[in-house]
């Protein structure tokens, strides 16, 4: 069974290499779908094994526990939805001359490499491997962000690669400190001193002073990559300039992988310095993110930048959940990671359709979207309501859980600020979405002709979103509960 953990990231690598030799567009999509399906099947098998045996380990490099399973599931689901969505999206991009046919092998292979690095990140047991894979996600996705090779895309890509690389070197620094603390406690650089399972099991023996400094470096470092304010400056640029399917993966899955790194170190810090220290830092960064994102969301004109800033807010909410802590807060954080990932990817798909139809990302010019594209328009409204936190959609549930945990923990000021921001953002978001959805589209707008693949991909994500809003299925509930226990170290 442990070989599965090695095979899993190799699937996209193998398909990516195969794609380099392909010339036919249909074959690209076939391979893309095959890769996503194979990954999905393997993830289900890993999930079942982990839920049966508790965890799965491979040679001190890879390991899977319930936390891993949450992230694997998200990556696999978004990978599949993106593969489906790309079929129709790519047809229009190539027809419109936005992407040249000869660059397709590079595009598809890079997306596969990007998925592979994300899988390695969340499968890593060795914290060094975690770092290497995380930097790998930056390198592969930076090329995708700048794929259009226009002025804006290249600017966004450069900013992205430089800022996140700076950030991530802080993450490596923190990793080195925690490794040193472990090696010290073990009485020498023993094998496994860099492995999360080893470190977490002996966290109470680590020097709290060193782990504290290490955690500060890690939260600043991986927090940059996760888009926590005030290190979020690159995020709206990169997420808005990337091709829309890539935006969906960046906002939906990648920033969650950075949160995975933070969660791992959160567990270690809880063991070494008690729950208060890392929780308070997460609370602080979470609150700052929610507050900082709000004015930018209200005054935004660019549709995809709006979604980028909105991701900053939601990463902040996840950090709040983790920071408030306790079983409810942590559970809420995990649920929110899934809910936001699914919903944000859905809305980026819609944005990709709107961009193609209106030839503009300016929300002032997008009018009558419901008329121009009934399906995508409906998904826009559904997605916007969910993102804004309306019941009965999924994000409402996880936000409510964060609130409940906060009130139970007596964090009234935090909760009051959080609530105020959520209400303001709610109004702003519904206002923006309503203006785009209703009204009469201009003559020049391309009506009708919604790609079946696009509708399918959005439908898939919308179905998951609605389901999670109504109920958390028992199987998923068990995974989330187990992930909460692993994180809290109980």
């Amino acid at each position: 069974m442990t070989t599965l953990l090695w095979i899993l990231p190799l699937v996209p690598v193998a398909f990516g290499l195969a794609m380099l030799g392909v010339r036919d567009r249909r074959l690209f999509h076939a391979l893309d779908l095959a890769s996503a399906s194979a990954t999905g099947v393997l993830v289900v098998i890993v999930a079942r094994t982990v839920m049966r045996d508790g965890s799965l380990r491979a040679a001190g490099v890879f390991a899977a526990d319930a936390v891993t399973v949450v992230f694997l599931g998200l990556i696999a689901l978004l990978g599949l939805a993106t593969a489906i969505y790309t079929i129709g999206w790519m047809r229009r991009e190539v027809a419109g001359g936005d992407i040249e046919e000869r660059r397709l092998p590079a595009y598809f292979a890079l997306v596969q490499a990007f998925l592979a690095t994300m899988l390695v990140t969340v499968l890593a047991d060795n914290l060094g491997v975690l770092w290497i894979a995380m930097e790998g996600t930056t390198i592969t996705s930076a090329l995708l962000v700048g794929f259009r090779r226009d002025r804006y895309g290249l600017e966004a890509a450069w900013k992205y690669i430089i800022v996140t690389t700076i950030g991530i070197s802080f993450g490596l620094f923190g990793t080195v400190l925690v490794y040193a603390a472990t090696a010290h406690a073990l009485g020498g650089a023993a094998a496994g001193a860099m492995n999360f399972t080893t470190i977490a099991a002996m966290a109470h023996r680590l020097d709290p002073g060193i782990v504290r400094i290490g955690f500060i470096f890690v939260i600043v470092g991986y927090g940059t990559k996760a888009g926590l304010a005030p290190m979020h400056m690159w995020l709206p640029d990169a997420h808005s300039q990337a091709p829309s399917p890539v935006s969906a993966l960046l906002s939906g899955a990648l920033i969650k992988c950075a949160l995975f790194g933070i969660i791992r170190f959160h567990t270690i810090a809880r063991g070494a310095c008690g729950p208060a220290f890392s929780g308070r830092l997460l609370l602080l960064f979470g609150l700052v993110s929610v507050v900082v994102a709000t004015p930018f969301i209200l005054t935004q004109r660019d549709l995809k930048r709006l979604l980028g800033y909105h991701s900053v807010e939601h990463v902040g909410i996840v950090a709040l959940g983790l920071g408030i802590g306790g079983p409810v807060g942590t559970y809420a954080a995990f649920l929110h990671i899934l809910n936001h990932g699914v919903t944000k990817a859905l809305v980026f798909f819609v944005a990709g359709d709107a961009l193609g139809r209106y030839g503009s990302r300016d929300m002032g010019r997008i009018r009558g979207f419901l008329r121009a594209a009934p399906f995508a328009g409906t998904f826009l409204m559904l997605g916007a309501f969910s993102l804004a936190g309306m019941p009965p959609f999924s994000i409402f549930v996880s936000e409510l859980l964060v609130l409940r945990a906060g009130i139970a923990a007596g964090r009234y000021v935090t909760i009051a600020i959080f609530l105020a921001m959520v209400v303001v953002i709610f109004a702003g978001l519904i206002h923006h979405a309503g203006k785009m959805a209703f009204g009469e589209p201009d003559e020049a707008v391309r009506r009708g002709g919604e790609a079946l693949s696009g509708v399918l991909a959005m439908g898939l994500l919308a179905a998951v979103m609605l389901l999670l809003g109504l109920t958390v299925p028992p199987g998923l509930d068990r995974i989330l509960t187990r992930a909460t226990e692993v994180t809290l170290g109980s």
């Binding site: 770092w131 290497i132 002025r151 690669i161 430089i162 070197s169 620094f173 080195v176 010290h184």
Partner: protein, 218 residues
């Protein structure tokens, strides 16, 4: 090599490392910063070799060799090649004046010594003052990346920062496990290649330097 001699050598190398970092921060010409970071990488490799000879740790020798090949030779060569290919402006135009940067750098060194005193428990006796130097190098590399707009100067800052992390790792635990060090170096190489490609692409596609790209706001 006796541990006392090793400690003295590593302390001396640490002082030289800080000196190269000052050279990078104060450089008014791009190629000077590149030579300074190459020299810094040579010093890091030397420190690795000294530590390897003292502790009889083969891994440290390998890391020293890789550092020499990749960071002292290959990456500076790549940077110089990019300069020649695109004929970028060679003068460094800092966002923050150089004197101010140097003052901040002084503060960073003090902070690093302060910070390392609270990390006392994991400090290896043999590496002397390597820990504060490593922290200072890492933070000053980040300072270079933040206070300069030119793409290549930012890359120099990145390499310096990575050097600092390597030195820190040596100071606290005789380096990270070999396989991880190799993986990190691979990431640095790949990252540098991608950044180099981007610099060339900005030149060829939009006919500008990366420093001139500043349209994304709000």
């Amino acid at each position: 090599m006796s541990p006392e001699l090793a400690t003295r050598l590593i302390d001396a190398l640490g002082a030289l490392l800080l000196f190269t970092m000052i050279l990078i921060l104060a450089a008014g010409q791009l190629y000077r910063a590149i030579y300074a970071v190459a020299a810094q990488s040579v010093l890091i490799a030397l420190a690795g070799a000294v530590l390897g000879a003292t502790t009889h740790n083969l891994d440290l020798w390998i890391v020293a060799g890789i550092t020499l090949l990749v960071k002292a030779i290959a990456l500076p060569w790549l940077l110089l090649r990019v300069i020649r290919r695109v004929g970028i402006r060679r003068e460094i135009e800092p966002v923050v004046p150089i004197t101010a940067t140097l003052a901040i750098a002084g503060g960073i060194v003090v902070l690093a010594f302060h910070l390392s005193s609270s990390l006392g428990a994991v400090r290896q006796a043999i590496t002397g003052n390597a820990l504060p130097v490593g922290i200072a190098l890492t933070l000053m590399g980040v300072l270079v990346m933040m206070s300069r707009r030119e793409a290549l100067t930012q890359m120099v800052g990145l390499f310096a920062s990575e050097n600092g992390i390597f030195f820190t790792a040596m100071a606290v635990s005789q380096g990270m496990p070999l396989i991880i060090e190799i993986g990190v170096v691979l990431d640095v190489i790949l990252g540098a290649l991608v950044m180099g490609v981007m610099v060339l692409r900005v030149r060829s596609s939009v006919d500008a330097d990366i420093a001139e790209l500043d349209r994304l706001r709000g």
